[in-house]
Amino acid sequence: MSGWDDLPYEMPIGTIDEDTTDRLLAGRIHPDDAPPGYAGVARILQAAGSLPRSEHLSREAELVAAAREVMSLRSPPGGGAGGSPTRHRRALAGLIVTGALLGIPGLAAANALPDPAQHAVSRVLHKVGISVPGNEDHPASTGQEISNIATTTSSIGVAKGAEISTAASGGKSQAGQHGRQAGQHGRQAGQHGRQAGQHGHQRNGGARSSHTPSVGGTGRADAASNGKSTHGTAKADVKSGGRSSAGSGNAATVPTAPIEHGGGKPAAHP
């Protein structure tokens, strides 16, 4: 019987079954024994399967050493003392988030957060059914409200300012209540003359202030400053050409200070 090589040159490529395919791919069919048209395939597959191993083994020592290294670096199953940096970062982030989730409501419950934060946390926690103090008692939570106070109040001057400031600060402002600074420096005494007068008015039941309200305050400031307040006020007034806030009683007692200019004018009480 003739072999495959004895077949005519123009032999058409035949059909091969699964078993022949498997044997060709496994390199178990010699080219001389291959089906018609498959001798070249058998050669190609045999050539592909005969690995030039030595050519690829030049890196053996290097890569085996690298393999030993990566194996030694592998953490033991179940995790040891060390962990990956990623794991540590995740744990830290978890602690921070947990702390924030527990700490912020705690501070809110203690009403220890700044007002805006307290208000925001209060609103959020209220939505989930947790009640913490808010800043709902704030007398004026909007600029519009403050503006209304400023435009509708019957107070004027220091009283008006104090009213607005008090509303805006929720009663924390002490604006208009400190006149003692007047005695510390002449210029300051003049600037705060009205405050000093107001202070004196309050202290003296308003009797003196009804006539010369600024004198009372300035007099007190003057006394407290051992006369320096008056002198300082006059000096400030001269220096400013009458535009300083030297006012109130000092303006009246020191002729060189024209009271119709500058800050002296508001010394007059209603």
């Binding site: 090589d5 040159y9 032999m11 490529i13 059909t15 091969i16 699964e18 395919t21 498997d22 060709l24 791919l25 496994a26 390199g27 048209g37 498959y38 001798a39 070249g40 395939v41 050669r43 190609i44 597959l45 050539a47 592909a48 399967g49 005969s50 690995l51 030039p52 191993r53 050519e55 690829h56 083994l57 890196r59 053996e60 890569l63 085996v64 050493a65 690298a66 393999a67 030993r68 990566v70 194996m71 030694s72 592998r74």
Partner: protein, 183 residues
Amino acid sequence: MAGFEETLVAAREGEAEALARLFRLIYPRFVCYVGAVTPTDAEDVAADAWLDVARGLHRFEGDEQAFRAWAFTIARRRLLDLQRSRARRRTDPVEPEDLVGAGGAGDVEEEALARLGTGWAIRLITSSLSSDQAEVVILRVIGELGVDEVAAIMGKRRGTVRVLQHRALRRLAMVLEGQGVTR
């Protein structure tokens, strides 16, 4: 010489000679397999795949055939990672005419046989076949893997792999016939 099971146990313990035996078993195959797709990166990808094998050695259980299949699964993943990162396939195709039809006046078959080598054969396979067909053939020939193992590695059904390999061999035969290599 130690059997595969003993080699595997020793390699897990980090014994250099056992690791070297496993290295010789799979690394040259990795280079050929990866080189069929991306020749310029074959050594690097094969090295990365080898280190992945070393990292996962403690998890592997099975015989030598299963080890090859598992190792090629890792190598293929490395290859796909590379291809994804480049977003294009680098096959460096070579026309079959350039590979086979060099001769003319002399005995074509003799010349072709003289030039036959693993790299040459693999380049002929990859340039003549579709990517799926070429991969099936290379995994079966170089990986010495069965149909079921190739199907598992490629994520295809057994029947699909059978059809791919059958068409691949027929296509190869037609290409070689056309070049006068087969008679």
